[in-house]
């Protein structure tokens, strides 16, 4: 099957294509339609321009606000999560007072080891006398 260049059409094919092109074409715009077309185009251009302006403003104001929020989160969230939830010292002193050191240490089991040690050391009354002697 040989494929010819469109310019190599036979006269009969050309006539057929001309007939198709003539029978299947849009009516050109009349003067009033040209004006209406242009008015609609201008309205669409204006709408597009306003939409662009709005999105530009969103970037101008949105980006710094987003950056500030991210910075705040970065600074404050670790502190919030790192802060001890239970005031271990107070609980330890109360526990020791009411249930004795052994029981208090046993009941402080839910705290990390360092906290357990720290709270018992801070609350032991004989630590001071040890230091003095």
């Amino acid at each position: 099957m040989s494929e010819r260049h469109p310019t190599e059409l036979s006269p009969e094919e050309r006539a057929f294509l001309e007939r198709v092109a003539e029978s299947y074409r849009a009516e050109p715009l009349g003067p009033a339609e040209v004006v209406a077309f242009r008015a609609r185009l201008d309205a669409r251009l204006e709408t597009a321009r306003r939409a662009r302006e709005r999105s530009r403003h969103r970037i101008i104001w949105g980006a710094p606000a987003l950056a500030a929020a991210a910075l705040c989160a970065l600074l404050f969230l670790p502190r919030y999560f790192a802060a001890p939830v239970v005031p271990a010292g107070v609980q330890a002193s109360l526990l020791i007072e009411y249930s004795g050191l052994e029981t208090a240490v046993a009941q402080l089991g839910y705290l990390p080891e360092e906290y357990q040690l720290l709270s018992t050391l801070l609350d032991e009354p004989w630590n001071e006398s040890d230091e003095e002697s």
Partner: protein, 193 residues
């Protein structure tokens, strides 16, 4: 000294403003030329690709012009302005066809009457409908190539650039489209003999 620095600064600003103004004016002029020179041809092309739907063709051409206006600042003269615009237009036509296909599928599902009524004004509405139907049965590539080259008189090179295909592919599409249409519209062929 201060005055001269101020004058120099304001001179530089004025120069930059003038340049920006010049660029904007050039862009506006180019857009007006594009609208004036391509509007009717673009409408004709869109009309033929959208089965003779006049309002859809106008909508698609306007959307393509809006997109062209937005991107005109980035146009780098690597292609002719017309070819560049027709590339935008053909994307809009395809987008519209896709939306219409989805809408029609839903309408069929909901058993509604088809929304698209393509009875264009013209010489012979019956013949126009038959040609539209015959074009509609071609593949998208064949239809686009046929409309660009045989109906809108673009060269094969221009059609290839606008449609983003090789010249060989366009020629192949044209050949197959012509065979198919000659078979579909055999009576028209007989008339032209």
């Amino acid at each position: 000294m201060g005055d001269s620095a101020g004058a120099m600064k304001s001179g530089v600003t004025r120069h930059a403003d003038a340049r920006a103004y010049g660029a904007e004016a050039a862009r506006r002029l180019r857009f007006e030329t594009l609208v004036r020179e391509q509007r009717d041809r673009a409408l004709g092309l869109a009309w033929r690709l959208l089965d003779g739907d006049r309002s859809a063709a106008e909508d698609v051409v306007q959307e393509a012009l809006v997109r062209a206006h937005r991107s005109l600042a980035r146009f780098r003269e690597e292609a002719a302005l017309g070819t560049w615009f027709y590339r935008i237009l053909i994307r809009e036509v395809r987008r519209h066809q896709l939306r219409r296909a989805v809408r029609e599928r839903w309408e069929r599902l909901l058993a509604q009457a088809p929304a698209r009524v393509t009875v264009p004004e013209g010489v012979d509405p019956g013949l126009q409908r038959r040609i539209a139907a015959a074009l509609g049965r071609l593949s998208r590539g064949q239809r686009e190539a046929f409309v660009f080259v045989h109906l809108e008189s673009f060269t094969v090179q221009q059609a290839a650039e606008a449609l983003g295909k090789s010249k060989g592919t366009i020629k192949s599409h044209l050949h197959r489209a012509l065979l198919s249409l000659r078979a579909e519209l055999a009576d028209l062929r007989e008339e032209t003999r």
